[in-house]
């Protein structure tokens, strides 16, 4: 597999990637990364809850958190920033997060082919050994020269 010497530095590029559009609206923040993984945080916010019962983050923002952490895990693994598209994404909600707790998502890219990237991850609200959700997904890498304008 190709490596590109890790030119993609999520701690630097997250200042742009995470501050605009959907990740910016959710307020996602960069926490840390390794050779093939990235960890982001979704801060608690009152307007992102599911109305039923306790003030805990809804499942939708957790999908966005894991989807974004997956993209960044793929970029650090590839060592470069190339557009990716989610093909398939599964989330299992193991338990609700604690009231008014932020959720931390960590995703690793465990396998790459020429056009696909396979990722898995988990989300927790403080203790990584007591996750709130597990995820698995497949992404396609896109060729910018072949992308159709919107």
């Amino acid at each position: 597999m190709n490596t590109f010497g890790g030119q993609f530095d999520p701690s630097q590029l997250s200042r742009w990637i995470l501050t605009r559009a959907h990740p910016g609206w959710l307020g996602l923040t960069y926490r840390s990364h390794g050779d093939n993984w990235c960890e982001l945080e979704l801060p608690w916010r009152a307007d992102l809850i599911s109305d039923e019962g306790a003030p805990v983050l809804a499942s939708g923002p957790i999908i966005s958190l894991m989807d974004m952490a997956a993209g960044m895990a793929i970029w650090v693994t590839n060592g470069e920033f190339r557009p990716v598209a989610t093909l398939d994404l599964r989330v299992d909600y193991l338990r609700p997060s604690r009231e008014k707790a932020s959720v931390i998502g960590r995703v690793e890219c465990y396998r790459r082919t020429r056009s696909a990237a396979f990722v898995r991850g988990s989300a927790h609200d403080g203790d990584p050994d007591d996750p709130v959700a597990q995820m698995a997904a497949v992404f396609m890498t896109l060729d910018p020269s072949r992308m159709v304008p919107a």
Binding site: D47, A58, D88, R90, P96
Partner: protein, 132 residues
């Protein structure tokens, strides 16, 4: 028809369309920069949020018609992304595959111009907890 949306769904700007009691409503979400992923495309997470919300709306509508009012809790969701969501309004509607006593299985489709050409589909399992 009064369909309760979560704070998250209202915050995203999801709108519940007209529907008769017991029917699954069509939900819509106008495009905004806040819903964008890579430039010129919907963020996968925003589409997933619309799909999940449409699933809950379909289930809530069916349960209301049965005079059942349980608390709904997500068990899992699997989303298939079929094509890029272009920068215009998206729609979604859920279908109940199986409604049991404790668990509901739902299938949801999201589309833009043509309901027969979905941009994403999802299946989800929802736990229903009856009030004490």
């Amino acid at each position: 028809m009064n369909t309760r949306l979560t704070s998250y769904a209202r915050s995203m700007g999801i709108i519940v369309g007209e529907h008769t009691p017991g029917d699954a409503p069509v939900l819509s979400l106008p495009f905004a920069h806040e819903m964008e992923g890579r430039p010129g495309a919907w963020h996968g997470g925003a589409i997933a949020g619309l799909l999940e919300t449409a699933g809950y709306a379909a289930l809530r509508s069916a349960l209301d018609a049965l005079d059942r009012h349980p608390t709904l809790k997500p068990i899992n969701v699997t989303v298939q992304y079929l094509s890029t969501g272009r920068t215009r309004e998206s729609y979604a509607r859920g279908r109940i595959v199986r409604l049991g006593r404790r668990n509901a299985n739902l299938s949801i489709e999201a589309w833009q111009d043509d309901p027969l050409k979905p941009i994403a589909t999802a299946v989800m399992n929802v736990l229903m907890v009856d009030p004490e």
